[in-house]
């Protein structure tokens, strides 16, 4: 496809959008992994939130 004399600007605009959106998706994904690991580590140590403790006590 011939994008004409300003093809470089068109490609650069799409590349810029792709890079920014890609970085955003990557950031959200990396953050999710980090939070999941931290939460699993705390739960592994037996740390519970007050609300979950109350629920467990209520069930007894």
């Amino acid at each position: 496809m011939d994008l004409g004399p300003y093809g470089g600007f068109i490609v650069a605009a799409y590349a810029a959008a792709f890079i920014v959106l890609g970085a955003l998706v990557l950031w959200v994904w990396i953050d999710h992994r980090a939070q999941s690991r931290a939460l699993a580590a705390l739960e592994g140590q037996g740390v519970t939130r007050r609300s979950s403790r109350t629920a467990a006590e209520g069930a007894r």
Binding site: I10, L39, L42
Partner: protein, 243 residues
Amino acid sequence: MALIDLANPHRFLALARWLVPIFAVLAAALLAAGLALGFRAPADYQQGETVRIMYVHVPAAWLALGIYMLMTIAALGTLVWRHPLADVAAKAAAPIGAAFCLICLLTGALWGRPMWGAYWVWDARLTSMLVLLLIYLGIIALWRAIEEPGQAGRAVAILTLVGVINIPIVKFSVDWWNTLHQPASVFRLDGPTIHPALLTPLLVSALGFAALFVALHLAAMRNEIMRRRIRTMRILAAAAEAR
């Protein structure tokens, strides 16, 4: 399910678990279709092939403004209704809004150079959009400056409500002042002035950007809820150790 049911973070997480992949797939499909339609659409009679930049520039601009309005509603949710997820929604939306604003400014500069002969001019529309990016960055900085989430949420909500004054300035800058930037051509009282051959790819692309925003926003909200749970658990663990 009523909106109030989502005030329970546990229910929200369960809903987000299946909504995030649905919107991610929808976004990928719509963006691919928008890209294909955009590159098949005819060139503009004045702007030539560079009009294709519109298919990323305009949706990014719409979302940058729309996300700020969502943050304004969330700010009201924090200050007036005290909805537990309002500040979570506002915090998760800010970096995404900033990213769309950045895309709008970058693609606008790359469109401006061949059309206007300059990457940047201190035109009212461009300047107010830059101010919007600075407001987004200020909001992100304020979130990071205050450690306690509830306190940070209230401070950010006030800043967000002050910053919303810039949104009508961005929207109507092209009507209120003489600008190099063209006036509105889609959202007009007398209907769009763009030919359907160019309007259809634009709307498909905009739907793709919107679906991507929903997927990213729900995922970022889920991350923020998890971050707050971790914070609470660490405080409780530290308190238990101190006893």
